[in-house]
Symmetry: C2
Subunit: 288 residues, 2 copies
Amino acid sequence: MMYGVIEAGGTKFVCAVMNDNGKVLETITIATETPEVTMATVIDFFSGKDICAFGIGSFGPIDINPNSDDYGKILNTPKIPWRDFNIYKALKERFDLPIKINTDVNAAALGEYMEGYGKGKRSVLYITIGTGVGAGFVLEGKTFYGMTHPEMGHLLIRPVEGDDYAGHCPTHGNCLEGMIAGPAIEARYGIKGHLLEEDHVIWDYIADYIGQALMSFSLILSPEIILIGGGVSQQKHLFPKIRKAFKKNMNGYMDHPVLLDDLEDYIIYPKNGQKAGLIGSYYLAKQA
Amino acid sequence: MMYGVIEAGGTKFVCAVMNDNGKVLETITIATETPEVTMATVIDFFSGKDICAFGIGSFGPIDINPNSDDYGKILNTPKIPWRDFNIYKALKERFDLPIKINTDVNAAALGEYMEGYGKGKRSVLYITIGTGVGAGFVLEGKTFYGMTHPEMGHLLIRPVEGDDYAGHCPTHGNCLEGMIAGPAIEARYGIKGHLLEEDHVIWDYIADYIGQALMSFSLILSPEIILIGGGVSQQKHLFPKIRKAFKKNMNGYMDHPVLLDDLEDYIIYPKNGQKAGLIGSYYLAKQA
């Protein structure tokens, strides 16, 4: 019984064959090109491998409503060749097997719920901050979606005093993603974020914006744990600042002991790091 | 088979005896005094009435986790006599019957889900804007709660240009509730909101703040319908402005047909108006 596991990212696809114990038996990483080119390589990789089910964590926006006719269809993405392409159907046509597809961030949240810091919790929020900003939410083992999947990265935040950057989001300017994603940092300073010193003022700004966003997520979802992954979260010095900004904004309002504590076990880097998405996609395959 | 239904509000309690068809057979409304005084009247009202189960929609913050030892306990409320009082236990001690308790706003969301504009939808968001601001969310028939119940009323919003009011929330100043709740309007102008003319600038501000908040709710929860009740929502002229502010902020980002449409069936006054909470509490009793 082998599972076909796919992390479908905007810049690369990671494919893995995993066994029933979650062991990776074989894996490839390929650049994301056109759907035709990329999916041909994906299908080729899995062919003849005795796969019983597929799990996919995909970039979005994507239709993840299993009752929809367009389940698995990539929607209004800036990656034009992928717009309206249905990953689920492409795979289903070639392999007539159970397939479950979800957003990459929901998959990562599921990965941490099953095998990470979310284990034993009722709810898990996973946020990625990298090329873009997104979040996935798992409640009682189920990945959350509403009318569409959430788009938490575009939350409105308040500009910090002294920060007059107009933001890098083509739709909202200075929304969360427009202020804290990797490309926003690069557009602002002409240099990649990881090359800026730890005492650069940008990290104070970013921590404040993340703290504001986490307050909104708490007020609305009240997750039992908040995990922050993605490229920008590699700046580990950000975490104490984020916790401080969260506390400052919340100002003790939700009087749960966890929120009144030091937050060191509440707002953290995922246990499975960059692998959370792959692990979650594996569980999607098992659920399928 | 009679159901005991209680809307436990901060200023009044509404109690009703309802039959299996949802018909109200008898009802009383009493002022909210100390727990001892109020609960004695409540218990007296229901005594000898052949009740089979109770449903309660209560003001908060309150523990609504059915697995908690403190299920039904009022938490850190500014109404000091009610702090740490357990409504569930007070009722359970007197009547050894199934009892279900939830927040007033979750009850209202459930009422609209079962018998209002949320009927047939997968998810319903109900917001009340009155003395305070709060919201309840129902997903697939279940009222939502995380580590605690949501506190959506305290969302951070961006002050509109020209509006330098510091806000009326003792904890957050100019959060959503601090800018749009009834007492905030009154503190600002020294006059109750319903006495201000329709073309007063306050309504433009309030519509903008609500539009911002609805954008955040949509990005995070993506509800299938948004219902706005409570005293301030009696200003029906607000609704077109709120829809406009929502659209302006969202700027077409979530490309679902409902969100790109005129929103007249998406952001609306509840079908059951002020009765949504009582109807929802009745369904809590039935679930119990």
